[in-house]
Symmetry: D2
């Protein structure tokens, strides 16, 4: 890997909290669509995409030219929540390109430019509007790291560091949590809404339609519709955290379009700016838009470079060809993953996902870890997810060229093969050793 | 003001939570140092500076050329917490220009790029390291809007919308809270550390050395040293939230340099990128840097445009001339404000502040509101602060040209005069009416 | 009913919080085993038994003579947690008569003399010993009204009046909550102990083996054993709240004897003194008895009249004849209830219970309410329970004479008949009306 | 002391949580007014009085005859919240003897029969009626051990064992906390009610007018009136916890009569039954009596033996001679304590108290501990209090015969002399040793 002189600045000056760089210890310098280049000129194919923030790849040239132009003519960069021309362009384009064609009329709140901030705003608004405290979150959920969002997140190691109780959230089983074919909806209804259950009526459900960090768990459309119906039946709000699964990741702009539901609140972040620039949005059903002015705010909620980029990125959605391309390429991914699975049926438990988020599920987390490591050796960046980190998460840019995609998948196959063959060879040894 | 056609996009599509744009209802388009220009070509002098995010003005040309160059050569934009060349440059420059000369050896944590996220990280780390839950925050404090930071913030209207209890924080009186000459330190020590007080021993104090939103309340150096000594005596961490007062706002890079203290944790955001780009930092005393990898994370913690900008902005601090310029110009401000006060002793209660954050304190919040409004009519953007919003907060860019500064101050005088003369004329009427 | 002059003292001077007296508005004066007598000399058969506090009936003569003797020789009455002769007698007798024969070696903690106080002590100790915050409580549970115990109780109307969040408790489904034949154990294990579930590992389970207020829900022995095994597997403590179901109510001294389990902590109150005198106990597995002296205390934890009474009451358990008598008479109850059910299959959904706690479950809560009211008219005191109050709870003293028991059951039948015949007569009318 | 055979039953079978019996390791058997007798016939004078539960001494003969008579005629013992003749007698007598003559018209709520339960009920009602969460409690306060009451208590060791956060309570300085002559009222008003303070407006103040466990801290009448006025000014309820200081302990029935204030809610317990029997009361201003039926309940809230005893005990208050006797004897106590102080000015810091609760304040807690121990050797039971346990708390029955009182005080003097002379002799040695 890298010599210590290259990374010593990080070791000396940056907090030990840093994590991705431990697994992928290059010093990256240049990036273009799905290709990253490190300081030594080595190239990597990026199947992580900024944890879903780079659906349109690194440094999309169309967007790039727009923001450079904006900067050069001294367009206002930082504007709090002033009116700006850049924000106006985004508001109108988002309405025209995204909302109207889908029949939505959400109001947009520009929260602090992190996903967790959009989640915090959603939770506040849901509690304010309903006058209730309790919020339902799901097993394996991930919604962010600030205290309110953290309370809805499931990962134990992240929760423990809060150092305080994480109250006013009740946990319910996500679709499939009890195994295939077992609907969790009846359970949820009985636990939440039957008299005497002892669970306080919630203000809202908050959920991802595809749990990314949680292990690429895909809620069925039927389950999503059932949950939406239940929410309406009992006057509970439905918040979809579309931060990682939205902006086209699953093939449609919103991940919930496939289910035909209309959440009351939608959180967007990550890929919304299209260029990896910090930006977050909360979409609000108009009649729920009952904030007082400034009741939730944040210094960087007016990041105009991001607005310019986001407006430009919406051009991808002006016709259906982009969605079609995503669908086409996602079949390449799934076919390839299935081939891997077919080769190693004893180790690969399943393939699951939607569109451009796919999981290669191993039985043994150690194998998954070795695959990720070996892939990096092959020049591929691919991360793990799931509560035991046993799922290799395939998350390329939606804009990846088919040839690069295939190249990346080949590198993945090579990595899997190397690990599993080595593993297969090692296993007998270790067996004989212990014999 | 603006015709409805210009702002209708905001009214139709943006949430009612928007606030600054209600007071300053222009649609801004172009910005350059202290000058904002709206869509109709009207110019405004900016005495708000992105609520302290634009210490180096809008679109600083030196920084601008660096980020355009970075974009054009496809420097990696979004990088999670990967090592990148841009981050490395920032780490080394921050150490060389800021930390080393001041004798500090903090580790840097790149949190989610909002101030509130840096505060949340600081609170988590303080609780983790000490094993305690309770945190001390101060009267009139503002530390952010996500649930953990909100619990430490004092503004009632912001707290109420949480909709849940904000536990594990105890409130103590800030310096001067009981009036001039009354130290609050003895009180704090008695309430927190005397056996039987009934207040659980805290993990940390969190404070601003100058409370900006709280009304431009300046803690004395003596009080800061006393608090620091008390913290050390009882093994309690000292967290300085230098988000608004740091990065030179008070004349030195860190606001606490004047007191000669060394906090255990320092939160930076707002002006740290120098260009208004979202970026936040937590500075950590090395022996307290006990995070597990990824224990606190965030999608946008690797905002390389901000790193490039921040590195460039540090050039301002390579010699003392910048500080001297700030000191020189701050005297212009204070002199001007004192002149205003001398003209209207019956309405202006006091002038207070440090360096480039100054408050013109009115007795009557309605007068302050009218002054801000009248100033906007004169082409000056100046905001209010304080719990009753009776303080006009003077917060120009540190880089403002003296001539523009004086022009802005003149506009402020004009606004004050107009309001108070009108007020003076009105008052007798109303007196006679009630007679 | 009563003339207002008889009850006006209560209406004028007692808080409106009073409740039982609204349903049974006599002014009671004299009591003897299962018979209550009001000020006007009218007699009532008591099928409520002080909500389970009078397992040995009102004013048991054997116990009565002991406490009168104790009072007359000026035995110490109130003793904090001093050693007293009366407490010593109880400690030794409880060990000899109850613990030793059953193979238990619990330590006894005398908590404040209310059940809720024993529950609070159990929760504290479980959290202290495990170092965890979270506690698992069950649907339809009732454990008391003070804040810690209330958080584990399920009844919504009781919870709401807390006015604050009730954190650090997670709710799980009791045996049978999802219907007959559906074990909830797998669900509980998956929700609590699977990595990534998002539910913090609990300190303890707290449960009643028969939920009394919750509707006479009887956990199966198999479920209790399964839960006990799960608790041990994961190092979670098992707390049985035997306040209402213990002291022989189900036929054995502890309600959990039928399941052959050994809880880590057992809460006793209600009938433990045998005479209705306030007394509570926490039984502690010796190795968990890690309190510091006085860490949990209470002024009335040394109620020596109650100790004398409790020692005397233990005589009932010196041979098996008492249990046999309870079993014999409980068959009379069940047979009678089944006969009622057979007569009104359309209204009585089921009979359920264990020993001397039996529930007559109506489909319609209004019918149940009318039955209770009509029974009072017949001279029988019988209460409702369950989340919708649709269960008539049969809870006579264990010592009730068979003839009085039968008389009471006859009055119940009469009440049911009167209500349902009236109802049957009314129903066709209403049907025809709506036709 | 006792041989192990006498106390082995406790060591083997009772939890290690027991505390008083460690300091006073006799096995008590018989009690009469201020005299306790142990199993070996040794007599002790009781200056602890059941921690204030035995204001009328042990086994008051007048009350004794009433309860024996009640038991012998089978008066109902346990009655939930049914109307009973015994409760009616108490309601009417309490109104006639206590409330009416003092101009009060409180409603009475019979809570679970522990002081902590009355406090929990008061907190619930205050939060319900005001719709607010926050409650103000004071430094050094003690209000009970169940979770809601514990949150208002100050003793750190008791709080820590909760194992969870104790939210929704804010701590304020009691009268005198900052030293003599410093009123804490201005501070309290500024911290709670000034805009921007960051402390949420409370539902209630809860306080003892004399802090017993907290160290015999006596709030001045002026301070109590000031607090009461402040409460009314801001619509905050005033809850007086008169559990230890009430029922005549300070010379008047309610401890707050001296200040002429009328709290909104008053908690009574300990001596209310007059015989040490568990009983608690919440007095409620009639317009605040907004409970729903059964919203707060408890199994033992109908303890009729206690009602009978309490009614009988009220006879002490039918004329002023009882108060006069208390005043007369309290002068004997104070004079004697002052004499002790005069003899040992270097060790006794002060004498403080009101009526029959007096504190002998030592500088050194170790001296206080030795005095209590030596007193027990002399045949006197006297306890410590205060956050460092440096205060010897003098708490005899109000009914103590003057000759026994003087005898007890003489034993106290003897104990102090023995300890301090030994101490004085030791001190020079240790001084010379270290020289």
């Amino acid at each position: 890997m890298k010599s210590s002189s290259e990374t010593s600045a990080f070791e000396e000056h940056e907090s030990v909290v840093r994590s991705y760089c431990r697994k992928f210890p290059a010093v990256f310098s240049i990036a273009k669509n799905a290709i990253l280049e490190d300081e030594q000129g080595r190239e990597y194919i990026d199947f992580l995409s900024g944890a879903g923030s780079l659906n349109y790849g690194h440094n999309d040239p169309m967007i790039r030219s727009k923001i450079v132009e904006y900067i050069l003519r001294d367009g206002i960069t930082h504007s709090l929540d002033f009116h700006t021309s850049a924000k106006k362009r985004f508001l109108l384009a988002f309405d025209e390109v995204i909302l109207k064609p889908r029949g939505y009329n959400y109001r947009l709140q520009f929260t602090g430019p992190t996903g967790t901030n959009a989640v915090e705003a959603a939770l506040k608004l849901a509690r304010k509007v309903t006058g209730r405290r309790n919020v339902v979150a799901f097993t394996d959920a991930f919604h962010g790291m600030t205290l309110g969002a953290l309370a809805t997140s499931a990962r134990q190691s992240k929760r423990a560091v809060a150092g305080v109780s994480l109250p006013d959230v009740v946990r319910m089983p996500y679709d499939g949590y009890f195994g295939e074919g077992v609907s969790t909806l009846d359970f949820i209804e009985a636990m939440l809404f039957r008299t005497g259950s002892g669970v306080d009526i919630p203000a809202a459900f908050i959920l991802e339609t595809v749990q990314a960090e949680g292990g690429v768990n895909v809620a069925s459309s039927q389950w999503l519709r059932g949950l939406s119906t239940m929410a309406r039946k009992y006057g509970v709000l439905l918040i979809v955290d579309d931060i990682q699964a939205g902006c086209g990741r699953t093939g449609t702009f919103f991940s919930f379009e496939r289910a035909g539901i209309e959440p009351d609140l939608v959180c967007l972040a990550k890929s919304i700016s299209g260029y990896g620039l910090p930006m977050s949005l909360l979409l609000i059903r108009p009649d729920l838009d009952r904030w007082e002015p400034g009741e939730h705010n944040g210094t960087f909620r007016g990041n105009n470079l991001a607005f310019e980029a986001a407006t430009s990125a919406l051009d991808y959605w002006r016709d259906r060809s982009f969605s079609h391309g995503v669908a086409f390429k996602s079949r390449i991914i799934v076919d390839h993953l299935n081939a891997i699975r077919a080769s190693f049926p004893a180790h690969v438990r399943s393939i699951r996902g939607a569109g451009f988020i796919q999981g290669l599920v191993f039985d043994d987390p150690r194998i998954a870890a070795e695959v990720s490591k070996a892939a990096f050796g092959e020049g591929l960046i691919v991360e793990l997810c799931g509560p035991t980190e046993n799922v290799v998460k395939i998350l390329p840019p939606l804009t990846i060229e088919p040839i690069v995609l295939k190249q990346g998948l080949t590198r993945l196959s090579t990595a899997v093969s190397k690990v599993l063959h080595a593993s297969l060879e090692r296993v007998p040894d270790s067996v004989s050793c212990s014999a």
